[in-house]
């Protein structure tokens, strides 16, 4: 079977030598897949040779044939096991006429007797000689497809142990044949990227603009330039999976190189996640904050999605970003190593395009500030994002309508502290009325945020302050968890989980049902 074939697959030092020879001969880098197919084919040929050697001079058993002592015979009914004829005698059966009986010894020493020179039509007489070919031979492609991960892991382990081999973007090559990329070429590459406002450019584009490296095949030049750019801190590889794109690091937005403070969440902070009720977990999954452990909550992977709907949080509205949440990760490109991926964002309302960045480890997508400002999108706006299948661009949309006067929860200063007032404002986008927030004095809100970064206030004390302020607008003094979550993130970045744990663990908060909370005794 193919699977058992792959389980026995190992890469020997001889295999690595063979690959090095191949790389020297061809002078082009090979992808891991190409190497895998070469090694599988080599192994199949070795097995075929061993099989042929094993069956050299071996005759397939047919009862009608005659045999000599010392002859080697393969028995179709015994999985083509090979045995040696050790003796011959006359057969004795009045119904079968004259025939012989051969005694054979199998390789395990076991002896059996078989009929020979048999005159009647035995079905084994029609077995063709070609039957003794190796069983279950598949193509290298079929073998690789059946157990890609296992085979790739074995090969990678062996190649990594070789000092002469170098890997870049999934391709392997021999160090001996690498083209020397001098400083002049790197300056030219920098100049080319400068001309394109930093990038992102593919390696062939850069090679074309610098006039090539003078020697070696296109594939080798590409590999060597990639290696040189990769080792030079001026250049950043920003391509999605299996695509190499280069950008000048100094021209990348500061918000991509360093996470904006307003988005920074200390994921290492412990909280009592076991205290969350099933309803709270369900709400956390619904909100799908990028720092919520949504994948851990769901037993099975969710179905593939083409579009994501989310509610814009203050932190992202202020930073001009979108969260790289569990659902967003399904539509956005990823990479093996690159921490930043350059993408194109498209405004679905007018098709205007923006340079965007997926910042994988810090879990956000940068590049939406201009779009938010253009449409005056409020905190709490319903946003949708989808991947354009024809271009891989990310299309961002919202529920646009003619601006109308809506009640908005405004962040205001109350003696220098945070307060809220419901005021009418013109809004031209669909929004979640539990999470909507507005602010006329952004400088004041920024000051509030900075003050909370430097303070040692506990999450509970911030929630008590927010609950006190937000509950004034409600006759029953209750505040919805979503409203609290939206307001909390103006002051400090938190996903819903720690907030729920703080609410559950503080006797000053009373749960009144349906995700509403109020201060104890109010």
């Amino acid at each position: 079977m193919t699977r058992s074939w792959a389980r026995g697959f190992e890469v020997s030092a001889e295999d690595v030598d063979y690959l090095q020879g191949l790389l020297l001969e061809r002078e082009i880098p090979l992808s891991l897949e190409e190497i895998a197919l070469i090694l599988i084919e080599k192994r199949l040929q070795e097995q075929q040779s061993a099989f042929q050697e094993q069956y050299q001079g071996v005759i397939t058993y047919r009862p009608a044939e005659s045999y000599e002592v010392g002859g080697r015979v393969a028995f179709p009914s015994f999985d083509f096991s090979v045995a040696e004829v050790v003796s011959l005698r006359k057969g004795n059966n009045p119904d079968l006429g004259q025939f012989q009986v051969i005694k054979v010894r199998f390789e395990d020493g076991h002896e059996r007797e078989f009929a020979a020179n048999l005159q009647y039509a035995h079905p084994l007489n029609t077995i063709p000689e070609t039957a003794n070919t190796p069983p279950s031979i598949r193509t290298p492609q079929q073998i690789l497809q059946a157990d890609r991960d296992l085979i790739f892991a074995q090969i990678t382990k062996a190649l990594q142990a070789s000092d002469d081999l170098i890997r870049l973007s999934g391709n392997w090559f021999s160090r001996t044949l690498m083209i020397d990329i001098n400083e002049g070429y790197l300056h030219l590459a920098e100049a080319v990227l400068d001309m394109y406002a930093g990038g992102a450019l593919t390696t062939p584009q850069i090679l074309k603009d610098i006039g090539g490296l003078g020697t070696g095949s296109d594939a080798l030049q590409e590999f060597c330039l990639n290696n040189a750019l990769n080792e030079d801190p001026r250049f950043d590889e920003v391509g999605p999976l299996d695509t190499v794109l280069w950008y000048l690091r100094r021209l990348e937005p500061a918000e991509v190189q360093k996470t904006p403070d307003i988005l920074h969440y200390n994921a290492a902070l412990p909280y009592d996640s076991d205290s969350l009720t099933p309803e709270q977990t369900a709400l956390e999954i619904e909100i799908d904050d990028e720092w919520s452990p949504v994948e851990e909550y769901l037993d099975e992977p969710t179905e593939a999605i083409n579009a994501v709907s989310l509610v814009l949080l203050y932190s992202h509205r202020r930073a001009g970003t979108l969260p790289l949440s569990s659902r967003m990760r399904q539509i956005l490109p990823t990479a093996r190593k690159s921490p930043r991926i350059a993408i194109t964002l498209v405004d679905a309302q007018d098709n205007e395009e923006y340079s965007g960045w997926v910042v994988r480890h810090e879990r956000y997508v940068y590049g939406l500030a201009a779009l938010y400002r253009k449409h005056k999108l409020p905190v709490g706006a319903h946003i949708t994002a989808r991947r354009d299948p024809s271009s891989d661009k990310i299309v961002v949309d919202f529920q646009a309508h003619r601006p109308r006067s809506e009640w908005v929860r405004l962040i205001v200063s109350k003696n220098g502290q945070m307060g809220f007032e419901d005021q009418k404002r013109a809004i031209g986008a669909g929004f979640d009325d539990l999470m909507i927030l507005g602010a006329d004095d952004l400088a004041f809100v920024d000051d509030l945020f900075r003050a909370h970064q430097s303070s040692n206030k506990s999450l509970s004390s911030i929630l008590r302050m927010l609950m006190g302020e937000l509950s004034r607008a409600n006759t029953q003094g209750a505040v919805h968890a979503k409203t609290l979550y939206s307001a909390l993130n103006v002051l400090r970045r938190y996903p819903p989980g720690p907030m729920f744990a703080a609410l559950n663990g503080d006797s000053e908060f009373d749960y009144v049902g349906n995700h509403y909370w109020r201060m104890s005794g109010s």
């Binding site: 009914s77 015994f78 004795n92 059966n93 009045p94 009986v101 007797e113 078989f114 009929a115």
Partner: protein, 143 residues
């Protein structure tokens, strides 16, 4: 090597396979095996048995593998008889019918489901007969 087990100690089903355990004849019955085996031959076949007495061991050739096994004159006569039409007839008793079906199959094991079309009897009836506490004619399960 076929394992020998008493049917009363294992849970048998219509797929449990049975064979003739010739050692049972030595240990569990006073009945003479050769006499019983001869009873499966016709008068004519019994008389012709004398013609085979010079051939001490006869080579039987497996129809599928070509492998040769050896049989004595009586076993060979039974093999021959088993190829004749009417060896198993509606008038044959159930136990004798099972015994004859196993002989015809070279004592390679058969299940109640295998025996049912040969004997024109329902598999549960065959199973009920074989799976009781009593062993008939050395017919025992192999598994």
């Amino acid at each position: 090597m076929v394992q020998q087990k008493a049917s009363s100690f294992i849970k048998t089903t219509v797929n449990t396979r049975w064979h003739i355990d010739y050692s049972w004849w030595d240990q569990h019955t006073d009945e003479d095996l050769r006499t019983y085996l001869l009873s499966h031959l016709s008068q004519e076949q019994r008389e012709s048995l004398g013609d085979l007495s010079g051939n001490h061991l006869i080579d039987l050739v497996d129809p599928e593998t070509g492998e040769v096994t050896q049989a004595n004159d009586l076993q060979f006569a039974l093999q021959r008889a088993a190829q004749q039409p009417g060896f198993i007839s509606p008038h044959t008793s159930l136990v004798d019918g099972i015994f004859r079906a196993l002989i015809a199959n070279g004592n390679r094991p058969l299940s109640a489901n295998d025996l049912s079309p040969i004997l024109s009897r329902q598999a549960p009836v065959i199973l009920k007969t074989l799976s009781g506490t009593r062993v008939y004619k050395g017919i025992r399960p192999t598994e």
